[in-house]
């Protein structure tokens, strides 16, 4: 399947390991990633808080870039990018004033938005377009047997439901279906649909850290050996700031957190380095050891 690859900012910067893992598993999943170095940031919801029309227009530009190349699916690997691109598409479909202004702005740079390209998160593609669990199972070379994984969705992938139209807004199952198909055991806990605290990490870091800490504790109490997230911003909160988050909730945390494609890559038999696991701040060794007899190359 040919898709326009929309890595988003974080996967090109501090979360480079997400980009590495995405490229590695795309080959196995038979995904042809078409790259557009002119894709811009999605605005992450922050531009929307200052200038609504600008927020929609920069995403219309992104969508139009893929449309011009004749590609119908834009694959995101970030819940927030997915949320913002979908939001822009929905606003353009119903808000005539913003549509007109966006068309005029795009016209000035010789571009046109027609609405033919659809943004889809990699998780969404796997379960909706690539055959889901049935297609994944034969690809698994190293079943993640014995590993209990707590999925973490990232708000913007599932909410608001009438915008995102994917899975259930507060009791989704897609991620867990994939975890099961890879041979691991999904852990159900409320925190998986809660906020990681990232949006306020720069507003009031302690409150953001408390939120992250709560969700990690929730996963831990429900028996998770590791967490896996579909959003690199959540990954920053859950992995990169885990030490501070633990302190904020008065607990010592040691929870490995995988990016979604890293979990796929592990099950496909890829090694830790290829998937960028050494770049994590919380060592993933404890989770890899849980895989029992399976020896993971360092």
């Amino acid at each position: 399947m040919k898709v326009a690859y929309f890595p988003g900012c974080v996967a090109q910067e501090s979360g480079k390991e997400l980009d590495m893992a995405t490229r590695a598993v795309a080959k196995v999943l038979d995904l042809e990633l078409v790259e557009f170095p002119n894709f811009s940031c999605c605005g992450s919801g922050f531009i929307d808080e200052t200038n609504e029309a600008l927020n929609v227009a920069i995403n219309a530009r992104n969508l139009a870039i893929a449309e011009k190349a004749g590609i119908q699916t834009i694959m995101t690997v970030c819940s927030t990018c997915q949320g913002m691109l979908t939001h822009a598409k929905k606003v353009l479909a119903k808000d005539k004033i913003i549509k007109k202004r966006t068309d005029a702005a795009l016209g000035k740079i010789g571009m046109k938005y027609s609405g033919t390209a659809t943004p889809k998160h990699m998780l969404q593609l796997v379960v909706e377009d690539l055959g889901g669990a049935a297609k994944l199972k034969p690809l698994v070379k190293r079943p993640l047997k014995g590993l209990k994984v707590g999925a973490f969705y990232g708000c913007h992938l599932i909410r608001p439901h009438e915008i995102m139209e994917f899975d259930d807004p507060e009791y989704p199952h897609s991620f867990e279906d994939v975890i099961r198909a890879l041979g691991a055991e999904p852990v159900m806990y409320r925190g998986r649909v809660m906020c990681c605290g990232f949006p306020i990490q720069f507003v009031k870091p302690l409150s953001g850290e408390k939120l992250a800490g709560r969700q990690i504790l929730d996963a831990k109490r429900n028996g998770a050996d590791a967490m896996a997230t579909s959003c690199p911003l959540c990954h920053l909160s859950l992995d990169t700031y885990q030490k501070e988050s633990g302190k904020a909730v008065g607990a010592s945390l040691d929870m490995p957190v995988f990016h979604f494609p890293q979990l796929l890559g592990l099950a496909f038999g890829m090694d830790a380095k290829e998937l960028g696991l050494p770049r994590h701040l919380v060592d993933t060794k404890s989770a890899l050891e849980k895989l029992g007899a399976v020896k993971v190359p360092a």
Partner: protein
């Protein structure tokens, strides 16, 4: 008919520890959860304590947690819950002290509500002449068509993760109400209200949209909060880390097309704020997460051209805000 397995929170002034009490009932799938709870109270245990009144999502008394989700129990049916979860766990509404079983003390909810002055304010320098009627255009009414639907049930507040974590945050209901008065042309405190709101009480919203899912009246509090943030940044300008973060994000993307993580953190938190985050920075660099260098997109000029078109000063104005009298707080004629 469906077998309804209820697990109901019992606690506070009862004897013994707080616990979940299990009840099993056979009910039609379309039974509201409130009806199931009332059946428990009538047929099994008359001591079950809860708030309810109208049974038709009008009075807003029966907000509770249904399998972790913040909902009105009168408008949530047993069938879909049993189908998805296999059981129905009922908790009292969140973010408030529990008094007994499913009844909580709503004081923290109302305290936040009162903080936003939830009534029309007059401009003391230009008081309204007695007997004057303020006319509103349909467009002006449309600006706040969602918020008067609010029934103050507290479902949004109960499920808000930020309210639970930070007492400084005003919460979804109070802020949706604040928006309603900010854009009401009969109110004469536009600037004053936004000045008071432009701080962390507003900017601690996470945009997680749980309030949108919880609200039984489609007020869409998270959207109203975003509207309010826009108005505040336009009228007052960035005042603290939250509003600065949003405003700086706009220019940050204009600079290179992709986020410059380090620069944004520095701009949002300021010199002293970033100093407190230095530990995180060094830990990231040790693991090869060099956020200091960041790529710049190709064809940056085309992105900047969009900025030229849409990021002029007048573009920052709220799109639905019609130019009209009374809107900015001056006395209507």
């Amino acid at each position: 008919m469906v077998e309804v397995k209820l697990e109901v929170f019992r606690g506070a002034d009862h004897e013994g520890k707080p616990h979940y009490e299990k009840f099993t009932l056979d009910l039609p799938e379309t039974t509201p959860i409130l009806t199931a709870l009332l059946k428990v109270r009538t047929d099994i245990d008359p001591s079950l304590t809860m708030r309810y009144s109208c049974r038709q999502a009008i009075c807003g008394s029966c907000a509770m947690k249904v399998n972790g989700k913040s909902r009105l129990v009168c408008s949530t049916l047993v069938g879909p819950e049993i189908k998805t979860y296999g059981k129905i766990r009922i908790d009292p509404p969140g973010n408030m002290p529990i008094l007994r079983d499913l009844v909580t003390d709503f004081s923290p909810f109302w305290e936040r509500y009162l903080k936003v002055d939830p009534y029309l304010l007059e401009d003391p320098e230009h008081p309204n002449p007695k007997g004057q009627v303020t006319k509103m255009s349909p467009e002006q009414v449309d600006q706040f068509k969602e918020t008067p639907r609010c029934i103050a049930c507290g479902a949004c507040y109960s499920g808000c993760p930020s309210v639970g974590e930070d007492p400084e945050y005003l919460g979804p209901m109070a802020l949706a109400k604040a928006y309603r008065f900010v854009v009401d042309p009969r109110d004469h405190a536009y600037h004053r209200r936004l000045l008071k709101l432009q701080d962390k009480g507003l900017w601690l919203c996470l945009r997680c949209s749980l309030c949108i899912e919880a609200c039984p009246k489609e007020v869409r509090p998270a959207d109203r909060i975003t509207d309010l943030k826009r108005l505040a940044n336009q009228e007052i300008g960035p005042k603290e880390s939250g509003s600065r973060h949003s405003a700086m994000f706009v220019t940050n993307i204009e600079d290179g097309g992709l986020l410059n993580e380090f620069k944004l953190a520095r701009q949002s938190l300021g010199f002293f704020g970033i100093f407190g985050q230095i530990g995180k920075g060094f830990a990231m660099m040790r693991h090869g997460k060099s956020f200091m260098a960041h790529p710049i997109i190709h064809d940056l000029d085309s992105l900047r051209a969009i900025y030229v078109e849409l990021n002029k000063k007048e573009d920052l104005k709220h799109r639905e805000r019609p130019a009209g009298k009374g809107v900015k707080g001056e006395a209507p004629t």
